[in-house]
Chain length 366, copies 2
Amino acid sequence: MADTISFARGAPSLDIVDVDGLREAARQAFDADPAGTTAYGTAVGYVPLREWIAERHGVGPEQVLVTNGSMQADAFLFQTLVNPGDLVLVEAPTYDRTLLNLRGRGADVRPIPLQTDGIDLDALEAALDGRTAPALAHVIPNFQNPAGYTLSAEKRTRLLALAAEHDFVIFEDDPYIAIRFEGESLPTMLEQDRSGKVVYASSFSKTVCPGIRVGYLVGPQAVIDQIRVLATNTYISPNMVAQSIVNQFCRSGRLERSIETVKEALRARRDAVVAALERELPEARFSPPQGGYFMWVELPEEVDVAELERASKERGVVFVPGTDFLVEGGRNALRLAYSGVTPEQIDEGITRLAEAVRTLTPSATT
Amino acid sequence: MADTISFARGAPSLDIVDVDGLREAARQAFDADPAGTTAYGTAVGYVPLREWIAERHGVGPEQVLVTNGSMQADAFLFQTLVNPGDLVLVEAPTYDRTLLNLRGRGADVRPIPLQTDGIDLDALEAALDGRTAPALAHVIPNFQNPAGYTLSAEKRTRLLALAAEHDFVIFEDDPYIAIRFEGESLPTMLEQDRSGKVVYASSFSKTVCPGIRVGYLVGPQAVIDQIRVLATNTYISPNMVAQSIVNQFCRSGRLERSIETVKEALRARRDAVVAALERELPEARFSPPQGGYFMWVELPEEVDVAELERASKERGVVFVPGTDFLVEGGRNALRLAYSGVTPEQIDEGITRLAEAVRTLTPSATT
């Protein structure tokens, strides 16, 4: 069998990681601040990086907590704000690990349909029945995982108003924001928040590299203070060596260059996915993303994605079935991650995928 | 006021951290394995480091999980093995964060007195009342935190037999093992375990540096598998950059050299503490440790350690009161951490501490 082509994992290929820049940033970290880089530090993170992040988001450092990757940030936030039985609103589809972790907390997870311009706010408002306010609403506003859709500016404003009116926290989970390769950037809900209702998470996994495991939270100081105590008790402090390397990477201008490299590559990969799908699978429905790693593809209803997964695997193509991202539904949908594959691999991979689809829908090819 | 001299924090001073070696190990990490160092990796940790640790402990890699510091390893283990109401045996005194985290899990924490040769096994056996087996017994066998005492070889054997007979897990929490500067090394309980009852934790915080945040667990494969799932859901993977740096540091012989540096410095610091206490505070009782960072000091009963803490702080000396390490008691005891202070600072610090004691016990000086 030919080498497997993976559309499964949301991770960059090595060619778009600035390894030389990281090596140099590591050298600078140990040179510039040997004490701060090698000592325990504190649970809020490496102080100069915390300050850099605060400045980027126009907040005070006391509103920022830097963590071992943004998944760890999510875990801390859920431990702090979500108790068993609490109502939590999520997008449908949404990131599978978020669903898993919220269920692990015993939350009452209510999926709200996702539209191409973001979460359906009429459906969200209907779910606010007035009896119980949700503990939080989880939203991935830019180039959503798994759909690739982006929350519109109008919906951001309206969601903020709903959170203020109904007194719930918006968890703005925004790891892909910097990876916009097309269209205009939209303001974050964090920067428009006048009611202290937004907790924002992002990470350097998509702009520096995933193995560095540096993420962060920005939010109301009271929430950050609570999480600081939890972080201290969990691990004393996050990784100072990694955060000091990221700090050097950010402050030397390498971050901006790395983002340009990533954006250029991902735009070409997105284009390759779109072109190959239009050529090989004209029956597929999708909305091309303006950034990020992922695209959601819906196939004709008679395609069962579990069967397609098997048939594709036999042909050396893997992806994550749509059902993984939904409490129910998604049986004819899949997530294509194009972050880790070259345009050539994409072309070949979609060709194989289309062959697999045709084995399941022979009539469609006549 | 003179500069504060801190006997409070169990952390090395910068002069005994091999910063040059770390910088070089970082360069090698990015050169030798750029893909493995920068990618997500898996929840078990950076594979070559996992293998190195497994070999060190004479186990298979499937019995090892590398974490973001050993506190995170503790947290995972407690989440896996300790449920609310579970009986957990701990040493008295013991590490304050362990007490805090076990109480946070709602455990029924039973303190067992610590003797200069380790936990009192008669008292431990009496606590095994036959009705409920403990979920685990937490033991810091070498140069215990906070006492500096070491569990004797005889007691290690007997504790293993008790665990097998009464079916409980020994959590062998062993971050200081490599820092023995005097006397013979004792076999770990892990290596003598024939019943699959030991889960072992250690870390590179004391041998490489704390800011690198790399710790690990070794245990029965079933336990490690459970924790692997928990780790995946918590943070996908631990820090690959940091673990790849540690891997290079270990495999290049730098680790052994670093340990020699640390041991030599800590022996001199321990000697300075002992000499200064004998000179300045002959009424203090203590047992000089053969390794590690800490020494437990008991003062005459009329000394209230909370008052001593205030009086010392006024004189520019800080330490952690004994009461922090005990569910009850320790009112005339304190922990001196000598890892972060030079012999000169120790001499001056103990002189100031003795002055503070004399303000509380004026009769003793007449």
